[in-house]
Assembly symmetry: D2
């Protein structure tokens, strides 16, 4: 497991994570994107949220990522986002670093979320390329520069073409790393060749503190083998212990154990499909994660945010079957 | 020209626009998406904004659409959006209806913008399908229903696949119209066959008050010919008089004059390409609209929001050439 | 109706169609893409094919387009393509021009089909941009130049992004027209703004003999209004008389009659959806056209080529309902 | 290295490769897609082609794949395809298995290429999903079944969404494997999570003879680690010895050596970008492979097929620099 310094929530300039701070350690390990439990009337269920954080910390995770896609950030109004930030940062109290997603269309809107994240004490922020607007590499560079200039904490680029409809180019990312704009990458593109281009590129260009995290939760052993520093697995909400075992096995060089664990998690991951064609992939996957957390007794309700479609009882029962097969209930 | 009642900004339940109100008139005519002038330090230039509104009213427009894509809504933080709403609604003071864009990823976030729009007195709101999240027709329906239930003013669906990466289906739109959820459509998909499907569908299903507005500013004569009620032309910022002439010619049945005007506007529209391949389409088009408004003496600065790339002086000069050719300067 | 010279099938250099021939007339009018009737064992049913040609000629069409997408060219092996060419060219015997699709991935493969089309006596050929390979505007230009150089008959560009995954740019098309490479365009992109850009561009650049045909069969009145020369309607197989009435009404300036006819054809067009979600759009649309032709007694079997899914009897019955509503059976 | 039986070119029913034959071995190892050398007048350069085959066999490859995308199959008319098949099959004379691509739009056209491949003695065929036509999973299944029924040799599915614009689903592939339709998969989708789904799925469903080959030439060590059987690397034309070292290291469990070799090949792979933005990715990559083979003295000309853009002398010199850095010249 990586050695991670505690999170000093009151000092925004600490920059203890990532490239900006030269000699300091790079973010690494298992950093799950924390689901956002909701009450049946669609308010943030803070009690369930702190239980979920405890569940993840108990699993041995190396950090937390709040307000990412798996956190339903796209569905949370600003006041919900603030509740999540405050609840998690206060509860974690520096035990592990907490990164905050600042998902919005362009830099000027992203900066409002940065403000809130810094107020709450987040140790790093995670931003995508511009979306909704048609964009261009020159604009993506200005976007990240604009955010970084104002943030004062490490900025991680979030590559998620399925949502953003742009693929971040390895050269652009490394140029921005060399400039001191980016502290790292969360690569959820599913393109492991592209991931490797970044990993080899940072080696060639001597940018060792640029953190490379994969969001591809089904090829984590391979990503670590290639040289990635860590993983941000949505499924890590359901089974953090599994991802921590995977990561630790890889770190100690027991790749066969890492692969076995990954293959076990791969089978479990199929629960994301329980919703089938009557709903979108987000409704099904996030619904299944929350149903699993509910069935495991960690969160009070399986509610997902509107306009997602709720899983029905039969679909939730099938989630239970996956958990039983994985000996998680 | 359509007869449009005045906008009663203090009474949210008036619903004088669109389907919800049965016997009342349907939104129609020329309703430009109002550009958002900025100062060189990227604040809303309210003085320029009111001059722009006067310019549009002087052109004879039938309504205004603030906080749409051409308004750079994707680039405006909430406080800027509120300034725009307050400035325009106060200045218009009910002379014409004002629609407000409530562009955000999903219903729960959209509703925050609806609140702000209603506070300012907007007479209708305009929302896209969910974006960023992977979506599904069943989720799109819940999304619009959730918004409409809370809005209390007419809700217009905004079909913009280039930004949202989903095409709104004609049947879904008409089902939601029949339910009383949608008051109309702003179709910026560029798919005139799909537009006609909606127009003929509302006739077949006897939904006459469902307003159909085209955002395809280069085929307005054709859209009106097919039965569309009006147009939301970005280029209408630069030349509102032209679009009003086009619309009025069509309404009085002088289609040849409408076509001549449209062809003239088509030639003018080419100014959107001045930025070329060194920037994205948004930087170039919105930069050109603002440069034109600046050159025409209507707004103080041609500034566009970050991270868009600014036009350089040579590119701005070419915008001026287009204006000169169109006798607009 | 346009004046169209007869097709001299034995003289390949005649070039009586399109730009190449300076003073000669431009292709115009209704030029349906001819369906390819098949026997139950998937051979070309030449008897049905000639009956279909007679049905189209009886409808008053101005030309024929064989081996296009609606002809299932993507499903026909070369020997079937040759049978179609020979059957149709021999049967038409110069009564109207016959264009031949030469659909294949790139110029070197396209040229084999050109050879076959010329052998059969086609009066013009129709080619898409390269597909399957990732392409680039510079490559698209070389592609069309390579084909034109060898063809010796007018070459029409076929813009079909849904199949080819590239949109042909208006400037590129007009540059190639000015070079003498392209004689015209069949625009099936559904982008009527783009269509108008070509129409106005040919006027500005004084390329009057460059033929602009729309494949958007639901907005034909609008396309003709904008200045298109003709239409290539898949639905014209089922109801050629309707498209001919539409075109003739437009030519004599009776636009209201043209619109009425288009709206009637629009309602009929919905038969393409009878297959629903259990099959692809091609299976459903081409299956419905053939079912309609079968029900109208024109072709012997409704068979579509493999691997398309066949309509079942209930779906075919619904096609019959559309025909009955349109008084076509 | 895998044990591979010799190729019996005269007996089409031998089915010695893949699932169809029960107890026989599965295709595995390094199976490069063989480039197609051309003369300056765009004919197949058979002398260079046999030298290239010798170069690959000298490298120790386990099989050859002719007429794939890297072979410029999309650019080769049928007579060129036949020349390639005849030249390679005759020259290889059973030393290693030879798979033949049968790239075309749909099953009926594909079957013509199957015929030619079988006549030449190919030991297996490789087909994509339908393209050009809009397709559907039910149609993809019929497509592969139709081909397999006629082929009589193992059929491999070729997953190449960048060309075909459809991603093959793991469940569909495994269903077709269980039916005996598919003998294996060449996965060039770049989606290593999807690749692993197939690998684990064949284990769960007990389909051990279903061959899984990756076309992602930059993550071969990872793919083999996950359980893939082999690789089809375009870059293997330039450096077959490297890919064979990589594969053999992995087979003997020396993963660190495999990774070192993969990282070296990754750096070499950057030569595919020498063409830059003035041409498409295919022109640049295939041009670079051929320039490298020319500079290494293996093929006589670096010519690529039209309408690809040729590399200029400066770009070819940069290819040489990559080769020098890799000690390949």
């Amino acid at each position: 497991m990586s050695v991670v310094p505690v999170n000093p929530p009151l000092d925004r300039d600490a920059s203890f994570l990532g490239a900006a701070d030269g000699g300091k350690v790079t973010l690494s390990g298992v950093i799950p994107p924390v689901c956002t439990p909701l009450t049946p009337d669609f308010e943030v269920d803070t009690g369930s949220l702190t239980r979920l954080v405890d569940h993840l910390l108990d699993g041995g995770v190396d950090g937390l990522f709040v307000l990412g896609s798996s956190s339903e950030a796209a569905f949370l109004p600003d006041r919900h986002r603030r509740t999540v930030l405050d609840t998690v940062l206060r509860h974690v109290a520096g035990q592990v670093p907490v990164l905050a997603g600042v998902i919005d269309m362009t830099a000027p809107r992203v900066l409002s979320h940065v403000e809130a994240a810094l107020d709450a004490g987040a140790g790093g922020i995670v931003a995508t390329a511009p979306f909704y607007t048609r964009t261009h590499p020159a604009e993506i560079a200005v976007h990240f520069r604009t955010i970084a200039k104002r943030a004062g904490v490490p900025l991680y680029a979030y590559d998620l073409p399925v949502s953003v409809h742009t693929k971040l180019d390895a050269s652009l990312l490394l140029d921005l790393a060399a400039e001191g704009v980016l502290a790292g990458l969360k690569d959820s593109s599913g393109d492991d060749g592209g991931l490797r281009r970044v990993i080899l590129g940072r080696r060639n260009r001597d940018l060792p503190s640029f953190a490379v995290l994969t969001g591809s939760e089904l090829t984590v052993d391979a990503a670590l083998w290639m040289g990635a520093d860590g993983v941000v697995p949505g499924l890590g909400n359901v089974d953090p212990h599994g991802y921590v075992r995977l990561y630790r096995a890889a770190k100690r060089g027991d790749w066969a154990a890492a692969r076995d664990e990954q293959e076990r998690l791969f089978r479990l991951f199929d629960l994301v499909r329980v919703g089938g064609p009557r709903m979108g992939g987000s409704s099904s996957a996030l619904g299944a994660f929350k149903a699993a957390l509910h069935l495991r007794g960690i969160i009070a309700y399986p509610t997902t945010a509107l306009p997602q479609i709720a899983l029905d009882s039969e679909e939730i029962a099938r989630v239970g079957k996956y958990l039983a097969d994985a000996a998680l209930i």
